[in-house]
Symmetry: C3
């Protein structure tokens, strides 16, 4: 299904019906509205104006559109801020953020909480039973514009209460934080401040607790909204539209409260600016197509967070406005991104936005239509996808498109991301870069991947990859025990306790039951430094980069044997294996990483295909009985279609920006 984001409050009322009809004509079935219209719904405290929204909803519904309603809390009105200045968030330097854009609220503000309850309740009471309102979105992009962390007085009080609850006594907190180091014993919970502004970094556990607390605040705030929606809008799924490359709160935890996980997909903004781990070469290479794995990674991630239900709530439909430079999508890419999302299991792809708005901060953000109302390239491609979907679904039985569990699970957890940020040890070891390099290696082998939480059932996966699990929690430890597949752990795996100390007695901590080794020390290498990686036979197969865990093999009384598969030129193990578990003691170049993943996949009984050999942008993704292929690359790609199998979409030689699909025997 296709949809679109629409803002009736920004267009003359006369235009609504016409727009609605055009949406249907283009083949769109869904429209998301209202997520920034708080000041229109509630122009002053407690006074509601529903007439315009009633009319908008009815107009859209009359045209046969299904409506996703957004709660408008991302845009608190000025009267609220004016009456309750504690609504405003505060930055790490103590500066209050100002009204005048969006997301100007602190998740710990009691006034914001109360006002949110009132508007969400009122809205849900009014439209909760409306037959055309098929789903609800809470707020919009929690954490956008660096608004997750707030350093307000309200946040400080809440943090202190949170700590008091967590530790019971200040002695316990001092013990847990390790205040014996540098002698910074705290006198009471009331004496605890934020972990910023010290002459040098605060205690890691202090910092980590503040991250956990902040994440809890966001999750709790969302849970409040979800609860109200469930009460007043029963039977309607609730979702949130997450962002890409974002990890400032625990999205797995929030996912527990949602029915669907949606995300906002802007492939070109990611490549140009947001994906800081890309090299300049990669930015140039994928400037107009997006990186072939970054969107896919997020589809697979959010499908997991949504318990299998994935929506793309905002899909880039042309140049965006917020990257440093904003490229034009290669012709065909809007279609390709849409099909790619469906291939990864999306139920809905909703374009941002119906029509480019000629004013406001996003005036240079394109949509399906130009500001003068004429359909733009993205609109044409959306219409084409709509037709193709009709044809395809007519030809197939519905169950043929059921998304199945992948063979490979890649474990991602948010606390580990925070830990890497607080204790990077190597300046480039922060963020999503490592996880996406691993994911990419798997995808270049043609494998389907589920990105899963540390809580996920791993028992049926053939291959489980932990690219960056600094902390392996008890739950994950159990899950790994249940796993009967091959396990591959990357550098730093299991290196930290929940409180961000070094795992006892040494890393890889809980993974030592799988791999009886000890990480005696680590080395991070600045860009340009590398060690040759060699086999036992002395053949150089690649090089070690960025990070090395220096591993001692434990004496193995239980007869558990550890084998060193490759070593760095100076002898330190590069990759070790024991039983069904591999440990990568270092990051390596992309080709060698692909080889290592292929080796693990083969041991796991999986078939692989080296897709990039001749087409660097070719990727496959299987959904149900269909094998999809997309080509993000600069040249045409010859598809590995079995002889005699006809394509149900596209052609066997895939042009740049092309998409194809064929039926595989289930």
């Amino acid at each position: 299904r296709l949809g679109v984001c629409y803002y009736p409050e920004q267009w003359p009322r006369e235009r609504w019906a016409e727009d609605a009809r055009a949406m249907r004509e283009m083949g769109l079935s869904t429209v998301r509205i209202a997520e920034f219209a708080w000041s229109r719904m509630e122009p002053s405290a407690g006074r509601f104006e529903w007439e315009w929204l009633d009319a908008a909803i009815d107009t859209l519904a009359s045209a046969g559109l299904q409506i996703v309603l957004g709660t408008p809390t991302a845009a608190p009105p000025q009267w609220l801020v004016d009456a309750h200045p504690d609504v405003l968030p505060v930055d790490a330097h103590g500066r209050i953020k100002a009204f005048g854009a969006r997301r100007h609220y602190c998740f710990s503000s009691p006034s914001m909480w109360a006002a949110s309850e009132r508007i969400v309740t009122a809205m849900a009471q009014r439209y909760g039973q409306h037959p055309a309102v098929v789903a609800w979105q809470t707020d919009n992009e929690y954490g956008c514009h660096d608004t997750t962390l707030s350093y307000s007085p309200a946040a400080l009080s809440a943090f202190r209460r949170w700590l008091a609850e967590r530790y019971g006594s200040i002695e316990a907190m001092n013990e847990a934080w390790g205040t014996a180091f540098w002698g910074v014993q705290f006198l009471s919970f009331e004496h605890v401040g934020f972990p910023v502004g010290q002459p040098t970094s605060a205690l890691p556990t202090h910092a980590m607790d503040f991250r956990r607390f902040t994440s809890d605040q966001v999750v709790r705030y969302n849970r409040m909204q979800v609860g109200l929606l469930r009460r007043h809008a029963p039977g309607r799924p609730v979702l949130h539209n997450f962002m890409g490359l974002f990890g400032e709160f625990d999205q797995h935890e929030m996912g527990q409260d949602l029915d669907i996980a949606a995300w906002d997909s802007y492939p070109l903004g990611h490549v140009d600016t947001a994906a800081t781990f890309l090299s300049e070469t990669e930015r140039q290479q994928w400037a107009r197509t997006g990186h072939p794995d970054i969107s896919a990674f997020h589809h697979d991630l959010y499908r997991g967070i949504g318990h299998g239900r994935l929506w793309v709530m905002e899909q880039q439909a042309g140049p965006v406005n917020w990257a440093d430079w904003n490229a034009l999508p290669l012709p065909g890419m809007v279609r390709a991104w849409t099909w790619e999302a469906f291939a990864h299991g999306a139920e809905l792809v909703s374009y941002f936005r119906w029509r480019q708005l000629p004013y406001g901060q996003e005036q240079m953000h394109s949509g399906l239509h130009r500001p003068d109302g004429v359909r733009d390239v993205g609109g044409e491609e959306a219409a084409q996808v709509a037709k193709e979907i009709d044809q395809l679904t007519a030809a197939l039985s519905a169950t043929m498109l059921d998304t199945a569990r992948a063979d490979v699970a890649l474990v991602l957890d948010y606390p580990s991301l925070w830990m890497a940020q607080i204790q990077p040890q190597g300046k480039d070891m922060v963020g999503f870069g490592v996880a996406i390099r691993y994911y990419s290696a798997l995808r270049r082998l043609g494998l389907n991947v589920d990105v899963v939480s540390p809580d996920a059932d791993l028992s049926a996966y053939a291959l489980v990859v932990l690219p960056q699990s600094l902390h392996v929690c008890d739950r994950l430890t159990e899950r790994l025990q249940d796993c009967r597949g091959v396990i591959v752990a990357g550098p730093r795996a299991g290196s930290k306790t929940a409180g961000l100390a070094i795992a006892t007695p040494l890393p890889p901590g809980p993974l030592r039951s799988h791999l009886p080794v000890r990480v005696r020390a680590v080395e991070s290498m600045r860009p340009g430094r590398a060690y040759a990686v060699r086999t036992d036979a002395g053949v150089t197969v690649g090089h070690s980069l960025q990070w090395r865990d220096l591993i001692d093999l434990d004496p193995t009384p239980q007869g558990q044997e550890v084998q060193v598969l490759e070593r760095c030129e100076d002898g330190w193990p590069a990759r070790v294996t024991s039983g069904r578990t591999d440990l990568h003691a270092t990051l390596v170049n992309d080709d060698l990483l692909q080889q290592w993943m292929q080796d693990a996949a083969h041991r796991a009984g999986l078939q692989t295909m080296a897709l990039c050999a001749h087409a660097p942008g070719l990727r496959l993704r299987r959904r149900g009985a269909l094998q999809f292929a997309t080509n993000h690359g600069p040249g045409a790609a010859k598809l590995p279609v079995p002889a005699g199998v006809p394509l149900v979409l596209g052609s066997a030689t895939l042009p740049p920006g092309g998409v194809a699909a064929w039926v595989v025997s289930p």
Copy 2:
């Protein structure tokens, strides 16, 4: 005429007469004084001490020097700041700037305004009729050190009043600002804040209004000073010394209040640091000569702002102190810069400064003399110029040097610069870089250029260039209607309304009557990304860089034909033309841009010369009957002197740093 900047308050009184005599001996006729001496003239509130200044002026006058008096408001005394802390400006983070350097005042401070009126009045009353005081300078370099924008309480009040006047009602302002976007309706003018400190950027119109307001404040403040000077110093021209590469207030508007526009020319500081759009190669190439077009551009700009009357108030005379690295001018360059200024119509070139001061922030800033009083290289060159001027003017009739209108007008407007900064869309599309690249292309063709305001009479120009006119105002639209020459518009031309929304129905907005096309979208390209530019015949002639306007040709019922002259490799038009108007849909490499400008010039009936073919630093400038040539390049340049025409300055083979002139038939 030559002059110098002098600070009697910094030197022992015994030295004044001797210095004055030496100035005359060097051939200087003018001396600027007093622009930082407020605390000496008014040591406490309302108590004036004129004796020292009387003596200084008399001493200088006795030696036959003409005096330019500067009002001292760039340096408010501590007693003023102490009594009225609201004088101090506030930065974007709300931090009050401190007393202790210069320019520590907010243009909106009522106390500063009152104190300024008092000192300017007192000074003008005392010296307004003095026969030796031939001109007045208001303040010094308005806006230097990032002091244009102030975020003080006084500025906020004034901004709110300004908005109330502009919009009448808050509803009108909300409408104009487009607060329907993200629902940020303002409750009243008293609820409006600064457009900074929001979680993300403020509304573009909010930001734009604050820029317009701030510009108005500076212009009004200067107008107040000019008014007082006109009353008490009748008949003396009033000027301000503007800076290079500066656009934070509308200098065209301020020019309306002035008799002369002066500017402060520091070619090497520009190349090393201030001209952020230069590549590292360019910085190295022009390190010791200055860029061959940047000073020239400013001469042509300020000649326009001064209604034809241009002074260089401060001319670099040796290494400066404020760039990241401070190169030594190539021998001869001080002379060359001086002649270059005269070639561009300057009436006066005044060196900064008479003698290097061994203490203070600018102790490493050289002058005509070393700190020990010995004449420095710059002083020798100034003396040489003085002699050359005498010889040259003796040989010519005065009218032979009258500056005439150029054949080419390049339109520059300040609001467009602010718009590009607020909505850059491509990170490198900000500042003077684009305008100067266009200017440079014209100058490399040997053309004389007037840099003009959007208000200038364009009817007589053969060629009118709009390199960066994001907003084409009504006035400019009319002026372009009156123009009978060839018009060339660069990327983004006409793309924005006065309020910084997208032009309706689409860009190029008002230019669509000249060129019936629509810019359906734009693309910005990060450094390194480029599209080949090809002719219809498929010949690659260059490449497209930084920015593309994606153009649709309109159906042309009126029979107005649009021709695509070149296209990018993927088919989008690179340059289109219709009637007498060209539109560059993209920025291109320097050589292709020069070719395009040559093509337009030829269609305009202008003769061109490819100066850079063998001498990259050679430039010509005609003033009256004289053709001047300067060589900023590393090698000697053979001049295009017609056979049999003798040189009145320099030689036909111009060494690096050389200057020459010959008479052309008028």
Copy 3:
């Protein structure tokens, strides 16, 4: 002697005895403790808990260890901050730094001063006579984490008092500061603020005085502690552990109050991050060994500051945690660094730290043991050194290792560093880079160097080098008069007065009696710009970089002749000489600098050796009768051992990371 840093308060009491025994077994004789344990010693104001420290000291002493006690003032307890918030330092933007890490105190806080007196007195009274407590360390790394400069109200009051004392009257201060420039006359001392936050930089003398004041505050604070220790712990030497590449207060001045100068040596952190003057190539080249001259430079510097008594209080023993990237020392380097320190005269090398702590900010900082208690590589190497020392000292008489004065003195002064920072004129002319390049050139010639203060007796040195003496004070002028050796001055030498004005009449100021030249101007060159340097014969011998002093030769009535040895391609002198003094008018490439220093050394009658010809990392250092050699380079180095002389340490072909020594005839 070898030692280690130990934190009994961080480990269970049961472990102390075992650790102490293991220290002795490893061959360590000394242990430093307590420098962050204030909150353990004085858990609330005036209530002391000594029992645990008594026990720790006794346990360590019983094992035969000598104890260095640190005063714990680097870590003020929360109760102090809570009762006296003025303890907290304030940054340049006026933000108060928070409790929660270390060094959260302002040197000007009266409350901090009083509390410091109390704890130091109490500690010294209790342990001052303890036989095992052999030395005292004041505080820890004064100035670490950018805490030297504080902008608190207390600092402001103290600064004003300091100014009033220095100048007597505000008129005198205005005169000295040159407030005639920009007319910033101050009304009274009470009107003086900090030299930060002005629209542009403050008066250089204002800034310089604030640096001098701040330095005085740190020195006074330390003097207070030293005084209390001398009273209550008589006969015990007092030291401070300084940092590398640090110059924010005058360490020579503090050295006057100390018996020993200790420093904390982290060679790999320096190379990766702290030594900002290194090129990327150098960072890569020395990533695992440290730069071959940076640690050596500091040994030679602090040996001078300690009046010949040098300790390394913290020696890197494995990867650190605080650089951007943290490399693994090359095997052997911990041993090599230790021997290198001894070769430079260190009496003690104390490793940081006994055991890696699994929690806290430094959890990734390695020690002699891993967190699980197993001895790490650094521990093995330390044990090896301990054995080697025993063998070596058994074979030699004690006096054979007496450190003698070197033949070469390199003068370093802290005020000149501040002056370069306040008035850089070239962006890369700041910090230790220039001094270390000169030092390096000398060391590559095999010369022993003393790094000395401007106050040092220079009469007996054969060669005296002033690489970066912007200010040549009266004392240094006298010392240079007494010097009978060759003097080499680098660029900017003698260019500034004590108050940071240009030296009168021109630079090199006081050095003009040695070298009758005048620096008429200077040029700084951005990276990439260079002038060829040529001999009289026109042979290019290298190139001029970064900086040029443009020199005029004075008429020399006294018959003092100045000879230009080399010139830049455009004729300006590159190196001049007169009598026994050379002036380098420019920085040059490393090879040419080495040649110049060799030339000067030969004229000084010194023998040199071009060590780097084949082994870039080879360095020699003579201590008493022993010639030591270390190899920081990637390949083996053939040592210049005289035929027939046996090695007392290592082998004649030195592997990477190797160390050797042989006896030379005294």
